[in-house]
């Protein structure tokens, strides 16, 4: 089911260039070009520095690691330009970690009122599978015939949010680190309602022109805001979307 959604969205994305072409954009001596691109990414919803509560990361794997998008570049002169894009992308990860004194809550349903709060020590899985529709606005600079760089902000709108996991092989101190000790073996948590709908960040990327039509790209996206909503206290440190994208692109014009 999930894969079907991706296929549909990929088809939609793939049709965007055709749509743009159909609009007969005035290219005016090559001042405007349109690119389509796709690729993969690695990264995660990560704290800015490893908090002391996380004692060991036992496993990490990217999840939904893809992007597909289109970008319109307007060339101001031979060096400088601006770009406006639309990207459909997944920002996700699956991790297993050992934590100590990790302030959290466990809940059965996604209801912020009914939850078991406390400080958890033990193993924890975290599964983040968020899909965003992102709009980057970038300045571009061509510094050689093959290389250019782009930098600029983006705004991402979450269209699917998943943030859940399981605590196992550990214990919870109820409410306070000095509270009653309760052995926890398979307690679930689900924080998807607390994931922000909007993520704002900065991208820095480069493209390498392979030939007249094809190019390779690499881009780092860094989310400024905590991906969790203000007032969310179940993780005591902020999580930022930090991803490295690599992919290929095709110039339509």
């Amino acid at each position: 089911m999930k894969i079907n959604i991706y296929i549909v969205l990929l088809a939609v994305m793939a049709s965007i260039p055709a749509f743009i072409q159909a609009q007969e954009i005035d290219s005016r001596d090559g001042k405007l070009d349109v690119q389509v691109m796709l690729g993969t990414k690695i990264g995660g919803a990560a704290p800015l520095s490893l908090p002391r509560e996380i004692r060991k990361i036992k496993s990490y794997s990217p999840n939904v690691p893809f992007f597909v998008g289109a970008k319109a570049n307007y060339h101001i002169d031979s060096k400088w330009g601006v770009a406006l894009g639309l990207t459909f992308e997944g920002k996700g990860m699956d991790t297993k970690a050992t934590v100590k004194g990790y302030k959290t809550t466990f809940n059965a349903v996604n209801n912020s009122k009914d939850e078991l709060r406390g400080y958890y020590t033990g193993d924890i899985t975290t599964k983040v599978h968020n899909l965003y529709l992102s709009v980057p606005i970038q300045a571009t600079y061509q510094f050689s015939s093959r290389w250019n760089v782009q930098a600029g902000p983006y705004i991402s709108f979450a269209i699917k949010k998943e943030f859940y996991g399981e605590a196992y092989n550990g214990y919870l101190r109820h409410e306070q680190p000095t509270g009653d000790k309760i052995i926890v073996d398979n307690a679930d948590y689900d924080f998807k309602e607390s994931v922000r709908n909007i993520d704002i960040g900065l991208s820095l990327g480069t493209q390498y022109t392979v030939n007249r039509k094809f190019f390779a790209l690499a881009q780092l996206d860094y989310g400024f805001n905590n991906i969790m909503k203000t007032g969310f206290e179940s993780i005591s440190f902020g999580l930022h979307n930090i991803f490295m994208n690599v992919g290929v692109g095709y110039r339509l014009k």
């Binding site: 809940n107 059965a108 009914d114 078991l116 680190p177 000095t178 509270g179 000790k181 309760i182 052995i183």
Partner: protein, 369 residues
């Protein structure tokens, strides 16, 4: 962050049992015939990095007493002394009531009026204890500590009346009696498939650790007893709730009943039967309270149905012995006794009727003279 006492050690072999350590209380049972405690040297094992200090406010120096150490020992035997454990990061601290219990002459009382209670400082539930000759004995455990999870989860009011095990002024004698009531555990209980909590009260202690993973082992039944029990007597009233439900809160076509029983078991035999010293314990749990091979006698209320409007009903439950008992072993404290009461007989499997109420007063263990 954490600030626990995890163990207690003494240089000499002076402990009868492993010290009973809960989240805020340490009870240490001494071997019989230990009289000279002047040079008692106890060491507390703590959470790594934590420190411990005597809570000075809790020590009452008797007038004219100069020897602080003697004052501590005297008070630790009588009412207990508070120690404060401070976490490594200095951000959290927890007070423990530390109590030493001399065991010669027996220390599990034979009569209980349920008059002495204290209220847990943080969670506000009722704790039953016994005051005998000015000494406090914390012999009773209940499931109240785990019910505080339900109250936290659903945002319930933490007050003694909210809990399944509490007191009532509806007493047979004196001012109070024990009231056990089967309660709904709310959204938290539903989440962990433990939808009801029967009120329970038992000789022993309660460990919140396994309440989610293995609730039957949370109840640690029994304490050493140095007399041969003949009968368990007392007065009770029981009003079963209307609708019995199962662990999924689905109706079950039966009437609720209460349970009152006592088990006398050979603690030495129980402990010797466990080859792994890490698993060796001095108590029975919900898994083996009625079927462990170390059990020598059981006294049990046969019909735990409602008592109607007749007021308190007296019960006399004779201990039925399944084997011989060596009297000198009993005198040497090789045996333990557990008394267990519950407002729903099958509450340990989360079957019972919400609202079932059991009131018990003036409990007595009749012993062989």
């Amino acid at each position: 962050m954490e600030a626990d006492i995890v163990g207690v050690r003494a240089e000499d072999d002076i402990f009868l049992l492993n010290p009973v350590i809960t989240n805020n209380q340490v009870t240490i049972y001494l071997q019989p015939n230990i009289h000279d405690l002047a040079k008692l040297d106890m060491k507390f094992d703590l959470t790594p990095g934590a420190t411990i200090e005597l809570l000075q406010d809790s020590l009452e120096m008797p007038a004219g007493e100069k020897d602080v150490n003697k004052a501590i020992i005297d008070q630790i035997l009588k009412n207990g002394v508070y120690y404060k454990v401070i976490s490594q990061d200095q951000q959290f601290a927890k007070n423990y009531l530390v109590k030493l219990v001399k065991t010669d002459g027996g220390f599990v009382p034979t009569e209980y009026g349920f008059e002495d209670v204290s209220i847990d400082k943080d969670e506000k539930y009722t704790i039953f204890f016994n005051k005998i000759d000015g000494q406090d004995f914390y012999n009773w455990g209940s499931g109240n500590p785990s019910f505080s999870l339900t109250l936290s989860f659903g945002g319930g009011v933490k007050e003694p009346e909210s809990y399944p095990t509490k007191t009532t002024t509806e007493a047979h004698s004196g001012a109070k009696a024990a009231l056990l009531e089967t309660k709904l555990t709310g959204s938290f209980g539903a989440m962990v498939k433990k939808p009801i909590a029967a009120g329970n009260l038992f000789i022993g202690s309660f460990d919140t650790g396994p309440v989610l993973t293995d609730p039957l082992s949370a109840t640690q039944f029994g304490l050493p007893f140095n007399q041969i029990p003949l009968a368990l007597e007392g007065y009770y009233k029981y009003a079963p709730g209307a609708n019995v439900t199962d662990e999924n809160l689905k109706p079950v076509n039966m009437k609720d009943s209460c349970d009152i029983y006592a088990v006398f078991y050979n603690r030495k035999k129980l402990m010797a039967a466990e080859p792994d010293p890490k698993k060796r314990v001095s108590y029975l749990t919900g898994h083996n309270i009625l079927n462990d091979p170390s059990i020598v006698a059981v006294a049990r209320l046969e019909n735990g149905g409602g008592t109607g409007d007749n007021g308190f009903v007296k019960f006399v439950l004779p201990f039925k012995y399944s084997g011989p008992v060596v009297e000198s072993d009993v005198t040497n404290l090789d045996y333990s006794i557990a008394i267990v009461m519950s407002s729903s007989k099958y509450g340990d499997n989360f079957i019972g009727a919400v609202g079932s109420k059991l009131i018990v007063d003036d409990l007595k263990i009749v012993t062989k003279k």
